[in-house]
């Protein structure tokens, strides 16, 4: 590795990191938060067997899980303007990621809700609670606990998938790397560098996932040490 390449990597690091702060991280956070809102609504509608809405939810999940993410991005960014719906690249990407990820997470949430034993609901009725009170205090918290590991995996995949947004001109980390390669003709070094940065981000997310999984496991473990509410681990 000579001085020229070192210079490219150092300059590239700054640019890629800036792109991550301006685009990749916000896209992941906003996209995933919206996805969770969609997922919880779609899962609850199915769990509660609400007519019509339940069918709409099934169709939505069917479409967004059954078509490629890249095609969805192209359709939204290049296709929708033909119908007069024009969006800037970033909000367009947020929307597509939220809808796509929402479909997957809705299935995760639905199966987590269905995994809560029927007896929990019955016990709630028997102490006088109504459906909404039981859902809020008992069923949804338990389902979120069950869904936490798969949902964490979804965030990590989504972080990596945001690189596809570069294809619709979103100036994310990968776009920034492509530009540097275009200028310097060093694809091996620069793409390795961007890969490494993605790796660092997903590793950080994995650690966060482990930490919270431990804390959440309070009521799933017999160990009294972490069992007491709130736990005693460092933050």
């Amino acid at each position: 590795m000579n001085e020229r390449i070192w210079g490219i990597l150092v300059e590239g690091f700054g640019k890629i990191l800036l792109a991550s702060i301006k685009v990749t991280i916000p896209l992941t956070i906003i996209g995933f938060s919206l996805a969770m809102v969609i997922a919880i609504i779609m899962a609850l509608v199915q769990y509660a067997h609400i007519p019509v809405l339940k069918e709409i939810s099934r169709i939505y999940i069917w479409i967004f899980r059954g078509t490629p993410l890249l095609v969805q991005l192209f359709l939204a960014y290049f296709g929708l303007p033909k119908l007069g719906i024009v969006m800037e690249a970033f909000p367009c990407a947020v929307m597509v990621f939220a809808l796509n990820e929402g479909a997957y997470c809705a299935e995760t949430m639905r199966s987590a809700l269905e995994a809560v034993p029927e007896g929990q609901m019955e016990a709630g009725y028997c102490v006088g609670m109504n459906y909404f009170q039981i859902m809020r205090h008992v069923v949804i918290p338990q389902a979120l606990r069950t869904a936490f590991p798969p949902l964490s995996n979804s965030v990590i995949s989504m972080l990596k998938d945001t690189s596809l947004a570069a294809e619709i001109t979103v100036a994310d980390m990968f776009m920034s790397a492509q530009k540097i390669v275009g200028r310097t003709y060093e694809p091996l070094w620069v793409y390795s560098e961007v890969a490494l940065i993605y790796l660092v981000f997903s590793t950080i997310l994995t650690f966060i996932q482990r930490y919270y999984e431990k804390r959440l496991s309070a009521y799933n473990t017999r160990s009294t040490e972490v069992g007491v509410k709130g736990g005693t681990q460092r933050s």
Partner: protein, 250 residues
């Protein structure tokens, strides 16, 4: 004075008629043991009178008001449920709540009681079942017997007029049965009205004041406990008692 009277409850699952015209009259302070072989409809009966199943027919008088069970309104169900409590065979404690939270949730959530007041009641109930020091334990950290005692504390917290027990000790290891029965016996001494499905014959004979014997969805015999055990009228009841006693002694 009768506090609850059910009349003519019928229930079918598909083609199988599981409850055939059941009548039971409960007076204040009664402890009624419901006996009968497995599959005779005991659980279904309790579930019907607490609306966990919808009866096909029948009526219920509760606190002097009669309700047609086939057409009972949601708000009447909610009102009756607030005056009753249920203890399940499999405890059904809220898995994401501590022992204390299990006991107080019905107060804070369903009855909008303040946290402090609910906590005070909750602690009193946990003390009653001897589990005050386990207040911060989650259900999974408790033994079966402890879980069932928390479930009883949860049932007591809402100050019910009647408590239904569905085989409260059947899921327990033999050495844990005693602690749960002791709690129920104390409630009986305090005058709590209870309907208890059980296979514990000593409990039925010595704690309950009335016995109801069911078989095949029918109510075969109703009697005062002492009388029932000393001299069961129905052949089937006789055979049942003999059979279950011999299993127990084996």
């Amino acid at each position: 004075m009768s506090m609850m009277e059910i009349k003519g409850i019928c229930k079918s699952f598909g083609k199988a008629q599981v409850l055939k015209d059941i009548d039971i009259n409960v007076e204040k302070g009664d402890v009624i043991a419901i006996l009968g072989p497995s599959g005779s409809g005991k659980t279904t009966l309790l579930r019907c009178i607490n609306f966990l199943e919808k009866p096909d027919k029948g009526s219920m008088e509760f606190d002097g008001v009669r309700y047609d069970l086939e057409h009972i309104k949601r708000k009447d169900i909610a009102m009756i449920r607030k005056k009753t409590a249920f203890v399940f065979q499999s405890y059904n404690l809220f898995a994401n709540k501590t022992a204390l939270e299990n006991v107080t949730l019905g107060l804070t959530s369903a009855r909008k009681m303040g946290k402090a007041e609910a906590k005070e009641i909750g602690m009193r109930m946990l003390e009653k079942v001897g589990l005050a020091e386990f207040k911060d334990h989650y259900p999974i950290q408790l033994s079966g017997g402890q879980q069932q005692r928390v479930a009883i504390a949860r049932a007591l917290a809402t100050d019910p007029e009647i408590i239904y027990f569905d085989e409260p000790t059947s899921a327990l290891d033999p050495e844990l049965i005693g602690e749960v029965l002791l709690v129920i016996r104390k409630l009986a001494e305090d005058g709590m009205t209870m309907l208890v499905v059980t296979h514990e014959m000593n409990f039925a004979e010595n704690v309950s004041n009335k016995v109801v014997f069911m078989e095949d969805g029918q109510l075969i015999e109703k009697a005062a406990s002492k009388e029932f055990f000393a001299n069961p009228k129905e052949e089937r009841a006789k055979a049942f008692i003999k059979n279950i006693r011999s299993q127990h002694d084996a």
